[in-house]
């Protein structure tokens, strides 16, 4: 075990997989000499050289598209979006090409498209988006949203080894905020397995990414009120571990679904809908969602704090479903 930040854990996974498998390479803007906008790939060009750490032109479609092509020719590329927001410029490559190739050609497209997403750090509307739901709705793409350093490492390893395209959302607010013990060396967390990060008996909070931390913070406050929250971190949106979620709800009978992305048509709707369908008879209260207000993520801290969810909004949602 070694203590690592979320960012270090991701870098560790990348480095280990590149050492282990010569077909793994990375491509992105400023990831070489500069080491990436967040310094996540710092030093990697020294170890792996410019052939395997490729500083690309500002061309997200070419970055993702060339990764797809390289994957069709035996490689396992990892493509960085400098900010996940810019994936909108390579959107067509991901949803039209990457997400349909297995279905059409029965050929693997083992690419990972990764990068910092999310708000709460005073970036601006164009450096804060949480867009995971788009890709969950695209077919043929796996979608990963880790909340902890160890999971980030293990899920990154699994994503690189997966034979399908994976969109890997790193929350930039978590990069340096949390440290934890992370297994050294090879470490795999399989995609599609949720994790109960805090067992509880009163109510389930189903969350992912930054919202898991809001939920944990909320559960401490709620414990003082005698509410024992179970926090389930789904970790991967696609594939979705429905059973762990339903199992939790069947035990607690009450549920709040939380994510940082905007509410409407977010992945929380999917989770809530599955619960309302498949755990209906166990529900003792409405399924409540906590999410961002339907707006771009604003820049000024007063506004950003107002529109994004946080521990308090989860606390009040939980109180609501407990009071029902």
């Amino acid at each position: 075990m070694a203590t690592m930040t979320y960012l270090e854990a991701i870098a560790d996974a990348l480095r280990l997989e590149m050492r282990r498998d010569p077909t793994v390479f990375q491509i992105g803007e400023d990831i070489g000499t500069y080491g990436g906008a967040f310094k996540l790939t710092k030093g990697m060009i020294d170890e792996f050289g410019p052939t395997r750490i490729i500083d690309a032109p500002i061309s997200e479609a070419a970055i993702i598209g060339s990764a797809i092509g390289a994957a069709l020719n035996g490689m396992r590329p990892v493509a960085e979006m400098q900010f996940m927001d810019f994936v909108t410029n390579g959107f067509n490559q991901l949803v039209t090409v990457a997400g349909t190739t297995a279905y059409r050609w029965s050929m693997p497209v083992p690419i990972v498209v990764r990068g910092p997403s999310g708000g709460g750090v005073g970036a601006n509307p164009f450096h804060s988006r949480n867009s995971e739901a788009w890709f969950a709705h695209a077919t043929g793409l796996k979608v990963v949203c880790p909340a902890f350093p160890a999971d980030a490492k293990g899920l990154m390893t699994a994503s690189i080894r997966d034979n399908n395209p994976v969109v890997f959302f790193e929350h930039k607010g978590l990069y340096r905020k949390i440290k934890e013990d992370v297994p050294e060396g090879e470490y795999v967390v399989p995609l599609g397995v949720a994790r109960v990060v805090r067992p509880g008996t009163s109510v389930s909070v189903i969350a992912y990414g930054s919202a898991v931390h809001m939920a944990l913070e909320a559960s401490e406050a709620l414990l003082r009120e005698g509410i024992d929250v179970e926090v389930v971190d789904i970790r991967t949106l696609v594939p979705f571990d429905e059973e762990t979620v339903l199992e939790s709800v069947r035990r607690t009978h009450r549920v709040v679904v939380a994510h940082e992305a905007v509410l409407t048509a977010g992945f929380g709707g999917e989770i809530a809908a599955r619960i309302a369908d498949k755990a209906f008879r166990w529900l003792d209260a409405p399924v409540r969602r906590v999410a961002a207000f339907d707006a771009p993520t604003p820049f000024a801290p007063t506004l950003e704090k107002a529109v994004l969810p946080n521990a308090e909004t989860i606390v009040s949602a939980v109180r609501d479903v407990m009071a029902f």
């Binding site: 479609a61 598209g65 390289a70 490559q93 297995a102 279905y103 059409r104 050609w105």
Partner: protein, 333 residues
């Protein structure tokens, strides 16, 4: 002999064999179209029928310039000739095209969109230009492993305006990738004439803006296409990077068969009909004594019946089983 080619490496007898091959593939492409058109008229076609009438010299000449043991083809919707050059079995082609049971795409898609990795053919998607970055990445991977694979791909005079084409060409130039992009300027993009698609004189003028080799050639002359592409393949193989070749032709039918192309002035079609790439090459080959007129006639006839028979066999097959629709969204590893 090609009008504008600069050099030719092939010796005379080898040239004759090459000419025979090229003509054979062009006739295959032409008769494939005829067979599909017949199917369309019988109301039996499913999906769009995109004729490549007028583009045979481009698809055949360019694919012939590759080494199909090491190179790869990323064809478009008017490049059926290249499939033949790369050894596609006609029955398999028809089954894929018509999306019947046994298709490599299991019915998930049809027409020329499929990949046949064993034959080094990587198909298309509908979104124009989307496969050019992919082709670039394919050969980039080859370079990383020290391989000499060259990729040949295509885009229309309309599709060349797509943003991804720009990103891919620039990317290929920066990384000196062995990629050849042919802009098939057949005067129209669906109903849209050249002057509403772009305002430059020649689409190959864009090459300079990427720092790559560029040229515009007559796309009805198969030997010129072949020769120009050979040189591009040579450069790519030598590490001299990508090429952008504009081939000038005329789309002699509608965008697809549902389109009566009433928007094309008749005199333009008449003018171009004298430059039919198959007919002119037949004349040349006969003139040079490589094949006789009756050899050509019987080649055309037998090719057409082969195509029709293959279509009939494909149509006898059922549609793929419904269950296929639920498989392979993800590759289970």
């Amino acid at each position: 002999m090609p009008k504008k080619s600069t050099s030719t490496r092939a010796s005379a007898p080898k040239n004759a064999e090459l000419a025979r091959q090229m003509l054979t593939y062009m006739i295959m492409a032409r008769e494939f179209d005829a067979a599909m058109l017949r199917l369309y008229r019988q109301g039996k076609a499913f999906g769009g029928v995109y004729s490549q009438l007028g583009n045979e010299a481009v698809s055949v000449g360019s694919a012939m310039a590759l080494d199909n043991k090491i190179d790869v083809l990323f064809p478009m919707h008017r490049n059926i000739g290249g499939h033949f050059v790369f050894g596609q079995d006609i029955d398999q082609l028809m089954v894929n095209h018509l999306a019947r049971e046994g298709s490599q795409m299991r019915g998930t898609d049809g027409t020329g969109h499929y990949a046949d990795p064993q034959r080094r053919i990587y198909g298309n998607v509908s979104h124009l230009g989307a496969m050019i970055p992919v082709a670039a990445g394919f050969v980039m991977a080859g370079l990383m492993r020290g391989e000499k694979t060259v990729a040949m791909t295509y885009i229309g005079d309309g599709g060349a305006q797509v943003g991804e084409v720009h990103e891919a060409l620039n990317f290929a130039a920066v990384r000196k990738l062995p990629l050849i992009v042919i802009i098939e300027n057949n005067q129209y993009a669906y109903s849209t004439p050249n002057h509403l698609e772009f305002a430059c004189e020649r689409l190959s003028d864009r090459a300079q803006g990427y720092g790559m080799f560029g040229t515009t050639i007559d796309g009805t002359d198969v030997e010129l296409v072949y020769q120009t592409c050979r040189e591009a393949v040579q450069r790519a193989r030598n590490g001299e990077g990508p090429s952008l070749i504009e081939t000038v032709t005329m789309r002699m039918r509608g965008h697809a068969e549902h389109d009566d192309f009433a928007y094309v002035p008749k005199d333009i079609l008449e003018r171009w009909s004298t430059k039919d790439p198959v007919e002119t090459y037949i004349s040349r080959v006969i003139q040079q004594g490589i094949m006789t007129e009756s050899e050509v006639t019987s080649l055309r006839e037998s090719t057409l019946s082969t195509m029709i028979a293959a279509i009939d066999r494909a149509l006898e097959r059922p549609w793929p089983a419904a269950e296929e629709g639920f498989r392979n969204v993800f590759i289970e590893s």
